[in-house]
Symmetry: D2
Subunit: 264 residues, 4 copies
């Protein structure tokens, strides 16, 4: 399906503020970016680089006053997210080198503390995809979802304690559980068609059977309409924006995803 | 200045043909990509990756029949290309690691064979920027320029022998001469505003005084309106498209660069 | 000074166990590895790769039974660790791209929670090196040091709460405080001459004035005799060994550092 | 088998000379480095980095006077080099990203000029491993081998013209032929047990059936005792040493490879 995604962030800046933004989707196996717009108002010099996770990041210093970042993209996504029930666990010694860092605990995914819980949740599941599916089910049944912004991120252990969370929290707990079983797992931030209420979204991917597969414990039904913008170990790595110095929050953050005609 | 660049390649494909394309400009210190479009007709799955030179490349298999790649971008470029007469030669031991590979000879730049010639051309110049400027001047005075497509690339040694060439040939010879003086040099492919006749263009950059500077022996006057699309050691690394299997050439290749209003 | 470092780990393995080891020092500006030995008994196939932080890592599957990893190296280190009082804070927009990830919070360094504390500790210090020195002093005065193994790592917030820790804990808290001031900071694991009692050691580096500088709040006097083995965001990235599956601990871990004659 | 390799280079330096050395074997699937020594006399600061091809390189400035680089290693190699007759050609679209650059022409491998010749040599061979084996056979039958140093490298086209060459020349021609068939191929420099006369050696690897396989048209019989030191596109990338400024050649270059007892 073809989607048009857009995100507009408006800030009021009191002192020149360095930003690192990550709002540029890239084309991969499951999405193709056919058109993209990225406006910064007022215009300031921007440097683009690729981070450790191959995200395209933009560095700039926002000037004093109103500051707007407006991005949009026309993206073709696969019709249905791929699933692979039964896909096997990949033995550590056979994992590609570039996947290994997704086994380690990270800021918001204390996987070193979830071994027993993950073993219990997945008892009876075949090692691999089915374990991750069991984790996704468990999250859906046991963590109460609320939408909206939870402020600064909390960690998987904190999510597990409060038994509720936003999409980012579900992803963190899912990732921590997977990694504690030696299944590489990573965070994805992006857009989701028909998300209610519309906003940026977060989900996770797990590496089983030689591929990364999408999991999203917040959504129930048919999985389609995902547009990835950033990948990383957790929310510390994939912030839509990182800002340095005195905290600055967007006055408005307007996100939209609409289906469009096949432009061919 | 704000430019709108576009390139449309039309192929007629007789058998499914793997392509690697490099037509996506990135934002850097000297250019900002505010809008970009990339259409493939008919649509086929495309995978994007970053190559060794940090270019964004697109992999796909073109299907039998007509095949069109149409890209365009709105880009803000710096008003005048930076120059730095007197910028010093950087001693090898102080070069950043990531610049070292641009010292080595490459497919079309046999820098291992140009030591004496480069020394002669630059005698009397201060080591560094002024040497490269002397090389640029020498090229402009000694190599006869012709526009149009020269077919498959020839090497710096061949260019030097025939004493004439297209923009790509000027860049190759300039690069080979720089490297033979231990000055890192790299090829750039992209767009140039007001190029006559309009087409994709090639030039080179040399690393002196701690920065990369633009050189283009084909152009005489004020330097402005450059939009870089790819970087590499030479044309072997920065082909707008690499195609595998039986040779396929574009039926048409339409390039345009026009000045646009500041979209702010 | 010339040092001979060695580390011997002995495990008793109950089931084939995948390991990732990081015990190979590399030569850099402050150390030169003149000789190195790395024995694995019994011998099993080992694959070496470079991780995201440029550490050389060894992957292997330890077989059932006794398993010994024995490494040693002859290393020339600089006579005195470099210091740079007054070296300035580097503005975010001028940091090299490859340093940016050391600004982010990580598993054991919740820098997102230390802003006020760091500001208070460093009030009166010039931005940059002197802030880090103030943090190092504060750690030395306020956190009680104990040697030996603390079991699995705890995080900076936990260290701060218990007001005591091993060398790794000091490093984590120091890093978290630096990053909360937008100073890139990273963990280093390695050897230290004359450490009492002898063991592997951990310290941290901060990026100020355009360079990485060594800080070690556990040591008081003259700083010399450091041999770095691994770098990373925190202990999650720089484990001397990571082991997967049921936990396995070394039966013995024998570390030695002795001064040797200049082998020239 | 266990081998002890050593290489000693002695230079007489007239003016301070920057060097980049590549003499440090790494452990991989087919070799394990159990012990390594690397002496530089007189001692000067050395910086180590990983190049684009993941080789460990050492940067230094050799001082005036005698300058000696002496390296040795104890290495376990696989008993017989792996072969895979029948291993299939990998379609371009299924090649891993990191292998793609080995398809491109390079300084000494003008693969863009060998299409017809390669097709002719491999007619009748199954696409993949068998094509490369046919190329290896053709080289052995058609290019006259001579040992010793040929001075500066010549390119595959030049080798093909003179119908003779050293090991490096065989590798360059083999690589150019493979790449012209869209088979990724790379140069390897290292040691070979029982090479006559003993010296550093060069061979090539081709990527077929999902793996890199060793080919060496200079050697006839059983293939064993290879120790790789560097990988790259061709000799431009994998020089045991690159030296900048006025040319300096080793006064002596002493290479040895001897079988040693299993040190376990």
């Amino acid at each position: 399906m073809w989607l048009r995604t857009s995100c507009e962030l408006t800030f009021r800046i009191a002192a020149p503020t360095p930003f690192i933004l990550m709002l540029r989707p890239r084309s991969g196996g499951q999405q193709w970016v056919a058109r993209e717009e990225y406006a910064i108002m007022p215009y300031v010099p921007v440097f683009e680089y690729t981070d450790d996770y191959k995200n395209l990041c933009q560095r700039l210093v926002a000037p004093v006053g109103g500051f707007i970042v407006r991005t949009s993209a026309n993206v073709k996504t696969i019709d249905l997210v791929e699933t692979a029930p039964g896909a096997p666990f990949v033995e550590i010694q056979h994992l590609p080198n570039e996947v290994l860092s997704y086994l380690l605990p990270s800021r918001y995914c204390e996987s070193d503390r979830f071994g027993e819980m993950a073993t219990s949740i997945t008892s009876g599941s075949l090692p691999g995809y089915d374990q991750v599916a069991a984790i996704e089910d468990w999250l859906r049944s046991n963590i109460r979802y609320f939408s909206g912004n939870s402020g600064r991120p909390i960690s998987a252990a904190e999510v597990n304690q409060q038994q509720s969370g936003v999409c980012r929290d579900f992803a963190h707990l899912g990732i921590a559980l997977c990694r504690s079983l030696s299944i590489p797992a990573r965070m994805v931030v992006g857009y989701l068609y028909n998300l209610e209420p519309m906003d940026l979204h977060a989900w996770f991917e797990a590496y089983v059977g030689g591929n990364w597969y999408t999991f999203d414990a917040v959504q129930n039904g048919i999985k389609r309409g995902y547009v990835a913008v950033g990948y990383g170990r957790d929310a510390a790595d994939v912030a839509i924006y990182n800002q340095f110095g005195p905290a600055v929050f967007p006055i408005t953050q307007i996100v939209a995803v609409e289906q469009i005609e096949n432009p061919d």
